[in-house]
Amino acid sequence: MDGFLRIEKLGKAFSADRPVFSDVSFTLDKGEFVCIIGHSGCGKTTILNVLAGLDTATSGHVFMDGREVVGPSLERGVVFQSHALMPWLTVRKNIAFAVESRWPDWKRDQVSAAVESVVELVGLTQAIDKLPSALSGGMKQRVGIARAFAIQPKMLLLDEPFGALDALTRGTIQEELISIVRKTRQTVFMITHDVDEAILLADRILLMKNGGDTNTGYVPGGLAEVIVNPLDKQRTRGTLHHLDGYYALRNNIVDFLVSRAKH
């Protein structure tokens, strides 16, 4: 419970008088899976980009393993909302690019062994030599996840990784993600819009509030509530809604989104 990742009083303002959010503080322990939920525009992607080191906060600090995060790093694997594969490279080469960046002095067969094992992990061995344009949306997203895993980061940052997928594909990939994360004991921070997805995957769920105008003036958004997931750790998509406490948890989150998330 040492706080592997510590976020302290984070704030971001694109225009000085109307910060998007302020005073956001939370921690992630090693091996923990944390989801963040909030309405569009409340600043989830901005927070994730700051954690990734791709963006800088206006105020506050982020520490990982006791060291301040000042820029992007191979220690944090990022899965982008839009998969962000390079369309001119095959699946194999997309992932090899990441592996070669992580271990520049690896021999070619070492690289290809690493690539093949992580591609097998996400079940894409048949498609390994295809270009991204020849893959379905779900397959592309799996390649994005495989690429993030391939560099063996200390933690994963996922920005709505399944946002563009249909319910069926989404379910399959969620299960894959669970099994990979359990196998590798990864620490994960994930943005989602889907309440059931958060309940299925997360150990803790952060609820975020939008900024907005009240009769006392503009109030920036921020972290409103933190919910610890009480459901059995071995939950699966199939059994989730039979578990005691599922509906209470779900109703609580939906209520928040409907009535408490906006000023």
Binding site: G71, P72, V78, M86, W88
Partner: protein, 297 residues
Amino acid sequence: MNASLFKSIEFRAGVVSVLIFIFLLAVWHALTLPGPAVVTPVAALSAEQAEYNKLMGKTTAANGALTTAKVTGFPTLSQMGETVVKQLENPFYDNGPNDKGIAIQLAYSLGRVGLGFLIACAVAIPMGFLIGMSPLLRRAFDPFIQVLKPISPLAWMPLALYTIKDSSISGIFVIFICSVWPMLINTAFGVSSVKREWLNVASTLEVQPLRKALKVILPAAAPTILTGMRISMSIAWLVIVAAEMLVGGTGIGYFVWNEWNNLSLTNVIFAILVIGVVGMLLDMMFARLQRFVTYVE
């Protein structure tokens, strides 16, 4: 072979192309048919007039009558055919400065275009990278590019001849100056519009700047860069003919000019056709390269 071949649009278009070609040849033939020879009694001509007629290419026939049939101004198809055969039979002959085979002249032109174009690539692509990656440099260079770009490359010729004092190198310089702008502008545009997400991937993987430039930005911008190169090459091929007409000496442009001075219209037409075909081949080459680097998102 089979029915689908004859139904395919390519095949039918090919047939129409051949028909158009035959039609054009027929029109040419019809327009250059030897008309009824105008026969003027020689006695009616003074010595000066006879001399003038000779200069204009009219011959005094054996029977003493003057015929104008052969020179309607425009060569006939068979004269054209003769020239084509003669030129293609021996494209490499070299009878001194004013009389070289078409292949030799082409080689001179292609050499100049190739050299000027390569130098332009070497300058424009790295510069385009810098300009494309730095908003500051882009703004700083913009006024220069905007002013220099619309200048006809031939306008540089006197300046080039004066400073370089070598007509061949001046030709190369003119090719350089006309090729550099489309490549520079396209490279800068391609580089500056590389998707943010690919750059973000590179940053999260801590990719070093040079590797990022070669492995991410270059392939991402390659289709745009190649479009620039293709435009540059087609402009360069247009300009080289004019430049060589101007400075003379060697090259396909000089060949056209020289044959005009020789009043050999068939050679001029032949050269025009060669210029067109070579230009098409150059363009096809770049189209092929373009297909090679294009990616589907």
